[in-house]
């Protein structure tokens, strides 16, 4: 059976629901504490997930302290070896601070998830956004290989989600785009609020060159079931949600399920 390891840092808080939806997707999943390195080392997983939360309370800046935890040496090694690694929200911040994404020179910090830039507000923002996957990601990324070209909604909840790159890297970053914020109908974002944090190139998720490591700000684990979708959302997902029967509401996947279905497909899970 294919397996996944969810790495819990001090202050992570999405580890349980993340592990739950991985298991629902047919993947044998265990949560490992930051100091549970030996056990993890003896039981290498087929995929690794860094869950959302506030590792070390985002102190100094989000993700930086967790990126230096010893357990990240192991994740780093597995990522370089091509194992699928996903960072969700705080996990994405850890991946950026680890230099795994964009990862032109693994271990070098070449991007940032900086504080949200939005008109007239600062700090945390939660809500639902619309997203679209890039063709490169659908082709290359084990976390996005089952996604189609249509836009889909996911929830966000973060204070530091703005992808920032050096001016000279803006060109080469384009081929690393996993997901982009977009309008409800899939057309390009025209800024706030479609792009909720001022992220460069409207990037919501970024991968390494190989595509096996994905840093995404939205929370697919919170939108795994159709019943988790807000009733007032626009687009086809909103219609599906509002018009579903009781049975459908319970059984149909939500828009976030595709991330984990992608992994299951990649790992060959039936």
């Amino acid at each position: 059976m294919s397996s996944a390891a969810v790495i819990r840092f001090p202050g992570s808080n999405c580890e349980f629901e993340t592990a739950r939806v991985l298991r629902y997707s047919g993947i044998d999943t265990r949560i490992y504490n930051w100091n549970d390195i030996e056990r993890l080392s003896d039981n290498r997983a087929d995929a690794y997930v860094l869950p959302g939360g506030f590792s070390f309370q985002d102190r100094i800046r989000a993700g930086v302290v967790a990126a230096r935890e010893s357990i990240m040496d192991l994740v780093f090694e597995e990522a370089i070896n091509g194992k699928p690694v996903l960072g969700i929200c705080n996990g994405a911040q850890v991946l950026l601070e680890s230099g795994l994404v964009p990862g032109w020179k693994p271990g070098s910090v070449q991007g940032a998830l900086a504080g949200n830039l939005a008109p007239g507000r600062s700090g945390y923002l939660s809500g639902w956004v619309h997203l679209k996957a890039s063709p490169e990601a659908i082709e290359r990324c084990p976390w996005l290989c089952s996604v189609d070209q249509e836009s889909f909604p996911l929830p966000i909840a973060h204070a530091e989600g703005r992808f920032v790159f050096r001016e000279e890297d803006m060109d080469r970053v384009k081929s690393h785009i996993g997901l982009k914020y977009c309008k409800e109908n899939g057309s390009a974002s025209s800024g706030w609020p479609e792009n909720p944090n001022g992220s460069a190139l409207d990037i919501a998720a970024l991968m390494n060159a190989e595509g096996n490591v994905l840093a995404m700000m939205p929370h697919p684990e919170r939108s795994f079931h159709l019943w988790q979708v807000p009733p007032d959302i626009g687009g086809p997902w909103g219609d599906r949600r509002r018009n579903s029967s009781l049975k459908e509401l319970e059984e149909l996947p939500g828009p976030g399920a595709v991330i984990f279905k992608s992994l299951a497909k990649y790992l060959g899970v039936e």
Binding site: G11, R20, G53, G123, Y124, S126, H219, R222, D232
Partner: protein, 759 residues
């Protein structure tokens, strides 16, 4: 130990220590110990006899609240209330609920006050053994556009920041709550906090040392943040004696990061103890710190305790014993466990979860052992710091306060001009009537993946807290200060009534309630009368709105009283009973929101409109008048309406439902249209202020046209209009385009409070 002090000596001790206790209380304490009390004893009893811990003014009145119902597992008395919730996979699950205020700290330090408010209330739920699955903040602020607007705006921003910085990090979904603005809170905001969680019935933990401790040695483990001087009561003492440059004794410093790690470690320890079949007691540290937790764990289990303060992990050396014992350092718990398992427990905290690495001096330690001698005995640096018969500590004090009715009869406005379109637009873009979305947008309401309906989508938030079970939990908190001001009895009655309607509107059956009673100085007969009136109103409402069958009421299972809410000049806040109601929906898939579904559907009005606009949004916003006639509370009608609405929802015939409260039918309709984005309501009713804006309790419900042919509508239900295309509400001779108003409606709070536009 010294001999019995004179009255003069006592008086000077009480004042030099900055104690709140009266001289009479100090004499009572002296009588207990038969000598001059030690500093630790003074501070311990000062806390235990405080209004907050002893309910000394409120206790006789609180006894009149209904607390008994078949589902109640633990009523008021422990850290949180417990009711049975659902059966899933052969496991009986209980719901744990707690409700508290953090008003005064939030006025002074909004960020820290609101943060420690959440911190304290979730600890109350955790320590019953539960996983916390939600929290909610019920906020009352002054007028952000008024004479003290600047202070108020800073407080609102700070409180919201404190809630998100702390609550989001904890990983507990925030279920929104409500926010009201009233100039009566200009000098004294209210930050009421609710938390709830679920626990298997056979894993409910009590906050006292178990009976087994009479037979085998039990010890007390203190775990969490190292003790410092934060939150140490007497402000005078803190700055003078303790820390010179840092006069911060009275501030509580919250640390959600430690709290999160600690919660997971606690869960691992509890799992281990249950696996071993070991009986234990568990309690969080709140007011009175170590002194309270050690004495209460022991006393309520019928034992005494020896506490060794030298074993307490501290972050600052040489703190006086009374500070170590009574400081209110956050993020700490006490565990009463058999001595034989203590080492294993310490290893979970200190090694598996590495507390000492995460925060300097943070660790779990054994700090005391329970004894059969009923004495509270504390040693510090080899000397006795307290030696008190333990039953006195928890005995408490009670006062009979005087009451004097306040004549609040106010006149109705002489004329009531009404231009429906203009008036509705005015209400929707006012501070009182606009959307609270901006506040909720700072909250994480989806962590844990259990959220079914978020703030703003329905009348109450709904979650699915037991994984795999279809049981949904709906929660709402309410309390209208404008009603409380005009009529404290009705303020109490409607607080329950509206929260019940909000829960019912989603299809959930109310199973229990909690209350937080915020009033002025109970030593003032007028304020005490208001308190009694509101409690009577809550009681009447709860007695009328029981859903457990028979004569059972809606039980109040937990709560809190907050007195002395007043301005520096002594003017009390409006009587503010705030009530949270918890409801259960057997099948969460039937949970109903307020999003209109289909053009041509019928909108029903449940609850006939009455001319009772006192305190209404219409009077306040459009006429600049408060009026006098608050909506009457009709318990049996409320119950009938609720039963009918629940029946329609369970039959799957209601498409959307929204309760009618602030702003009346017109505002309720507009809120449904806002939520629906592309649909609205065309009302076929008279366009007079009573029909459109009266706040008589009721509901709007969307059904399909066949429904009104199939079903005989009860006398309190009538057809109000139809669902129409476009985000608008209209009626005879009026129409409001809500797309045009949406920005102002949704952005008003941000514009006034966060951006200070037009100030």
């Amino acid at each position: 130990m010294s001999k019995k002090p004179s009255r003069e000596e006592l008086k000077s001790e009480v004042s030099s220590r900055g104690l709140a206790m009266t001289l009479e209380e100090a004499e009572k304490l002296t009588g207990y110990v038969d000598r001059m009390p030690t500093p630790l004893e003074f501070h311990l009893f000062d806390t235990m006899w405080s209004e907050h811990c002893s309910y000394k003014s409120s206790k006789p009145v609180l006894k009149t609240l209904p607390t008994d119902s078949p589902g109640v597992v633990i009523g008021p008395g422990e850290d949180a209330g417990v009711v049975s919730f659902c059966l899933h996979d052969g496991v009986e699950w209980d719901l744990v609920v707690a409700h508290e205020s953090h008003n005064h700290p939030s006025q002074v330090l909004p960020v820290e006050g609101a943060a420690t408010g959440i911190g304290g209330i979730v600890r109350d739920v955790y320590c019953m053994g539960a996983r916390v699955t939600g929290s909610m903040d019920l906020l009352r602020f002054g007028n952000p556009e008024g004479s003290k607007g600047e202070t108020t705006r800073g407080i609102v921003r700070g409180v919201v920041e404190g809630i998100w910085k702390y609550g989001n990090a904890l990983g507990v979904p925030n279920m929104g709550g409500d926010t009201e603005f009233h100039p009566g809170y200009d000098d004294n905001c209210l930050v009421n906090v609710v938390a709830f969680g679920v626990v298997p019935h056979d894993r409910v933990v009590h906050s006292f040392v178990p009976r087994e401790a009479h037979k085998e040695p039990y010890v007390l483990i203190l775990t969490g943040k190292p003790t410092d001087y934060t939150g140490f009561g007497g402000a005078t003492f803190a700055s003078a004696d303790l820390d010179g440059e840092l006069g911060m004794g009275s501030v509580q410093v919250a640390d959600p990061f430690l709290k999160r790690v600690l919660s997971e470690a606690n869960q691992a320890v509890l799992d281990m103890l249950f696996e071993k079949g070991v009986k234990f007691g568990f309690k969080d540290l709140g007011a009175g710190g170590i002194a309270c937790v050690t004495s209460e764990l022991a006393a309520h289990g019928g034992l005494g305790i020896d506490v060794d303060l030298d074993s307490v992990p501290v972050s600052i050396e040489n703190l006086p014993p009374e500070v170590i014992a009574c400081s209110e350092t956050q993020e700490r718990y006490g565990l009463a466990v058999p001595a034989s398992v203590a080492d294993e427990i310490l290893a979970v905290y200190n090694e598996e979860f590495e507390l000492p690495r995460l925060f300097p001096h943070c660790r779990a330690a054994v700090i005391g052992k329970f004894t059969s001698k009923p004495v509270y005995n504390v040693i510090c640096r080899g000397e006795s710091a307290a030696e008190t018969p333990i039953n006195y500590i928890t005995e408490g004090v009670v006062y009979q306060r005087e009451e004097r009715p306040v004549n609040s009869k106010a006149p109705e406005p002489v004329e009531r001009p009404c231009d429906p379109s203009k008036d509705l637009a005015k209400i929707l873009t006012s501070i009182s009537g606009c959307s609270r979305q901006h506040i909720w947008s700072y909250y994480d309401s989806e962590v844990q993946g259990v959220t079914r309906l978020r703030p703003g989508e329905a009348d109450s938030c709904v979650s699915v807290p037991v994984h795999g079970s279809r049981a949904g939990l709906a929660v709402s908190g309410d309390g209208n200060p404008w009603y409380g001001e005009l009529d404290p009895f009705l303020g109490g009655a409607h607080a329950v009534g509206e929260a019940v309607r909000n829960v019912v509107a989603t299809g959930a059956t109310p199973i229990c309630a909690t209350d937080c009673l915020n009033f002025g100085n109970p030593e003032e007969p007028e304020a005490f009368w208001q308190f009694k009136q509101s409690v009577a109103g809550i009681a009447e409402s709860c007695n009328a709105l029981g859903f457990s069958g028979g004569d059972y009421p809606l039980p109040i299972v937990s709560g809190n009283v907050s007195f002395y809410n007043q301005s520096t000049g002594g003017k009390a806040i409006p009587p503010s009973p705030i009530v949270a109601v918890f409801g259960k929906i057997h099948d969460h898939r039937k949970a109903t929101d307020m999003v209109l579904r289909q053009e041509g559907n019928i909108v029903l009005l449940v609850g006939t409109r009455k001319d009772e606009l006192g305190g209404s949004l219409f009077y306040r916003t459009c006429l600049g008048h408060h009026g006098g006639t608050v909506p009457a509370f009709k318990g049996s009608l409320e119950k009938k309406m609720a039963d009918w609405v629940l029946g329609v929802i369970h039959d799957k015939r209601a498409y959307s439902v929204h309760d009618i409260s602030g702003g009346g039918l017109a505002v309720a309709g507009a809120e449904m249209a806002f939520a629906s984005r592309k649909l609205g309501i065309n009302f076929s009713l008279d366009s007079n202020p009573v029909t459109l804006f009266s706040e008589t309790p009721g509901y709007l419900m969307e059904v399909d046209p066949r429904f009104v042919e199939d079903v005989t509508l009860p006398e309190f239900v009538s057809v109000a209009g139809k669902v129409c295309k476009g985000c608008l509400v209209s009626g005879n001779g009026w129409s409001v385009d809500l797309d045009e108003l949406r920005n102002q409606w949704s952005d008003k709070l941000a514009s006034v409070i966060w951006r200070e536009e037009g100030i």
